[in-house]
């Protein structure tokens, strides 16, 4: 009996320990706000860690690019919220590449068939000919495509488009000057489409993608995408005015949705192009996702600049600069902070905790009571057996990858009004999420939540202690440090957990 609840008891013991030490040290007032701060962090760690843990549990893939998705979600949400012209000008280009690639995939099929029909080279043919026939067509097509991508985006005024707010370095650029004329953009669209057309066959030839279903369906989808691209571009000025005319609340919700959707798409992209063909080769997958992590940071730096941005504006419910005495008063007063035992606590952070809680319960219900959840839970244990039951487990993999990535990106958007956006945020939050997941136990959903709570509390208390100063025993001196030290010291927590219980609190033994 005791053994069965060991994990739960451990969790409760740690939390009680953390909180009681905190209260003894800081007194009830400061400790309570520290607990709330800790839960805020825990909610964000959870949003990031849940996907990490689910993906690892189901597919044995540790996605080092997960923090990047969190960050890109944050940047996308942030930009849509405050700088819609960035989207109206870049989205059509991206859509055209996709539209082109979709059709291109069908060009790849006859190409591959034609290649297969040609005489096979003997294994001992001259090396040059083997290399040429094997990779030359792909390399040639890819080079052409990449060249077109470069040509099509040459001189694209990304910097001007980004410089929307006066806070941008060099000041704001008015939309009329930031955007290129439509005729220019139309040429770019064509270039992007052709580049996509060339990329499609490469992806098929290198077995990254497979053409499925009848051609006309894909053609229709491709045409729809192109039409959307054209419409978005055509209506970019009214669209920007419309978007900026919307209330902060609506824009915030749109930012959340856009962030999550981007995350899901990125997840699908990463899974299908990079992960899928390497199942069973974990080292390659790890190295690949590490590479993607690196690319992600550099991409964000290249697009949005090395400097971070200040926190995003909060929805109106958290915007009035006043302090409400209690939750009910807050709902009518819409204050930015609320009174907690005589200390002000930002209401937006309560909202973050709420989002974390809602997602925690929502995903738990999904896992517990739906067929998809049942398949995921079974797949965590034995995905080959799930496949042997006649279930397309690979599709479930992609779906879970998309779901986990969407959660991370959502977390990023939620975090943007709290911490702002900056190119290191992905790595910083991912590190903490890793540690949370290690504490809780990789692959365990409840474990992730538990690990996030423990780590969030530890971080919050650590921040207060480290920045407030730790009185050194037997001396008059006080040890003071920056929050960076608290951030680094969580690695020590992970070290302790690894020494005591390598599989984590809720993890199964290796």
């Amino acid at each position: 009996m005791l053994k069965q609840y060991r994990a739960t008891l451990t969790f409760i013991a740690i939390v009680v320990f953390l909180i009681s030490v905190g209260y003894a040290w800081l007194g009830p007032v400061r400790a309570t706000s520290a607990v709330l701060s800790g839960l805020t962090l825990a909610a964000l760690y959870f949003l990031l860690g849940a996907g990490l843990s689910l993906i690892f549990g189901l597919m044995d893939v540790l996605n080092f690019a997960h923090g990047i998705i969190f960050m890109i979600g944050a940047y996308i949400g942030y930009s849509l919220f405050g700088n819609p012209r960035l989207f109206t000008n870049t989205l059509p280009l991206i859509l055209m590449v996709v539209a082109g690639a979709l059709v291109g995939v069908y060009i790849g099929r006859p190409l591959r068939a034609w290649e297969a029909r040609r005489r096979q080279l003997p294994a001992d043919a001259p090396p040059l000919r083997i290399i040429l026939s094997r990779i030359a067509p792909s390399v040639l097509l890819a080079l052409l495509a990449v060249g077109l991508l470069f040509w099509g985006t040459r001189g694209f005024p990304l910097n001007r488009l980004i410089a929307f707010e006066p806070t941008a370095t060099g000041g704001a650029v008015p939309t009329a000057q930031a955007q290129e004329p439509l005729s220019h953009m139309a040429v770019r669209l064509v270039g992007m489409m052709v580049a996509g057309l060339l990329l499609g066959p490469v992806l098929v030839r290198e077995k990254r993608l497979e053409a499925r279903g009848p051609f006309w369906k894909t053609l229709v989808v491709s045409l729809i995408l192109s039409a959307v691209a054209a419409i978005v571009l055509w209506t970019r000025d009214p669209a920007e005015r419309f978007m900026l005319g919307l209330s902060v609340d609506v824009r915030f919700v749109l930012a959340l949705l856009a962030g999550a959707a981007t995350g899901a798409l990125l997840g699908v992209f990463i899974e299908t192009v990079f992960i899928r063909s390497f199942y069973g080769r974990p080292v390659t997958q790890l190295v690949l996702t590490l590479g993607l992590m690196f690319i992600g940071v550099e991409l964000v730096r290249a697009i949005w600049g090395k400097e971070g941005r200040p926190p995003m504006a909060v929805p109106s419910l958290f915007a009035e600069s006043c302090r409400s005495p209690n939750l009910i008063a807050w709902l009518s007063e819409r204050c930015s902070s609320i009174d907690v035992l005589g200390r002000a606590f930002p209401t937006y952070r309560l909202f973050i905790i709420l989002i974390g809680l809602v997602i925690l319960i929502g995903v738990w219900i999904l896992l517990r009571y739906t067929r998809l959840g049942m398949i995921v839970r079974a797949g965590v244990q034995d995905s080959a057996m799930v496949e042997a039951l006649g279930i397309n487990v690979r599709r479930v993999f992609t779906l879970v990858f998309a779901l986990g990535s969407a959660l991370a990106a959502l977390g990023g958007v939620v975090a943007a009004p709290f911490v702002g956006v900056y190119p290191d945020m992905g790595g910083a939050f991912q590190l903490q999420a890793f540690i949370a997941v290690v504490i809780g136990g990789m692959g365990s959903y409840i474990g992730t939540a538990v690990g996030a709570i423990i780590l969030g509390l530890a971080r919050a208390f650590g921040d207060v202690l480290v920045t407030g100063g730790i009185p050194l025993p037997w001396t008059e001196q006080v040890l003071r440090a920056s929050p960076a030290i608290a951030r680094a010291s969580t690695v020590l927590i992970m070290a302790i957990v690894l020494l005591v219980r390598p599989a984590g609190i809720f993890g199964q033994k290796e």
């Binding site: 067929r371 049942m374 398949i375 839970r377 079974a378 965590v380 244990q381 034995d382 080959a384 057996m385 799930v386 496949e387 042997a388 039951l389 006649g390 279930i391 397309n392 487990v393 690979r394």
Partner: protein, 235 residues
């Protein structure tokens, strides 16, 4: 009756290892066919190759008149092949009910088959809400077989059902397999020759990755030297 399954000269590689080097067999509709052979002869790989979990590199697998080799495992299974792997790979963190429900291919599969399944394995009804991990070895084996019976399968691949079970439970299982074989064709891998010989109508012997002999079980029983040579067993 015709053959629901025909395997023609399949070769399977696992990594660089050439595990199956020419296995052919057939399963006549409505019968039990036993795959016999020593440990490591390639019996389990044969089942996995049929199902596409370890796809064969050469050769043909024909199921219900269609060539299925090279298709993804989930497509093959969905055509009507149920798989009961060795070590009864049930999902221990799912309840018995969920273990059965997950095998549904159409809504209501389980409800339609409930009487048949619980008729075969009355225990499962009693344990319906329990996590699979709490079941005993025999019960887990029954659950694994029951799971394969939930959808409308035409063929069951059963791997070593008697492994590690008490004799009395083996008896029970044998009876269940005999009963269910009236509804579906069974391809049975079994180390326990006693059990296999009593259940199966036909046999295939696999040795060193090759199918070396096949025929009617009653003929095999008259050839003790073959049994000794390939199976190391006596009648």
């Amino acid at each position: 009756m015709g053959n629901i399954l025909e395997v023609r000269d399949i070769h399977t590689f696992i990594g660089q290892f050439h595990i199956l080097q020419g296995v052919s067999l057939e399963a006549a509709e409505g019968t039990i066919t036993a795959i016999l052979g020593r440990n490591g002869a390639g019996k389990t790989t044969t089942l996995k190759s049929i199902l596409g979990l370890t796809p064969p590199r050469n050769g043909k697998v024909v199921f219900a008149g269609q060539e299925i080799q090279g298709r993804p495992a989930y497509e093959i299974a969905a055509m009507g092949i149920g798989y009961v792997p060795e070590n009864r790979a049930i999902f221990t963190n799912l309840t018995v009910a969920e273990n059965l429900k997950i095998a549904e291919r159409k809504r209501g599969d389980l409800d339609r088959k409930a009487n048949f399944i619980f008729g075969l394995f009355p225990d499962l009804k009693r344990l319906y809400r329990l996590p699979g991990g709490h079941l005993s070895g025999g019960q887990q084996q029954m659950l694994a077989i029951a799971r394969a019976l939930v959808p409308d399968n035409q063929l069951l691949l059963i791997d070593e059902p008697s492994e590690g079970l008490a004799p009395i439970i083996i008896q029970e299982l044998m009876e269940a397999i005999r009963q269910l074989s009236e509804r579906v064709t069974v391809l049975l891998v079994e180390q326990n020759f006693q059990m296999a010989s009593r259940l199966a109508k036909n046999y295939v012997i696999i040795d060193d990755g090759r199918s070396v002999r096949s025929g009617a079980m009653e003929d095999l029983l008259r050839q003790p030297e073959i049994i000794r040579r390939y199976l190391g067993a006596t009648i």
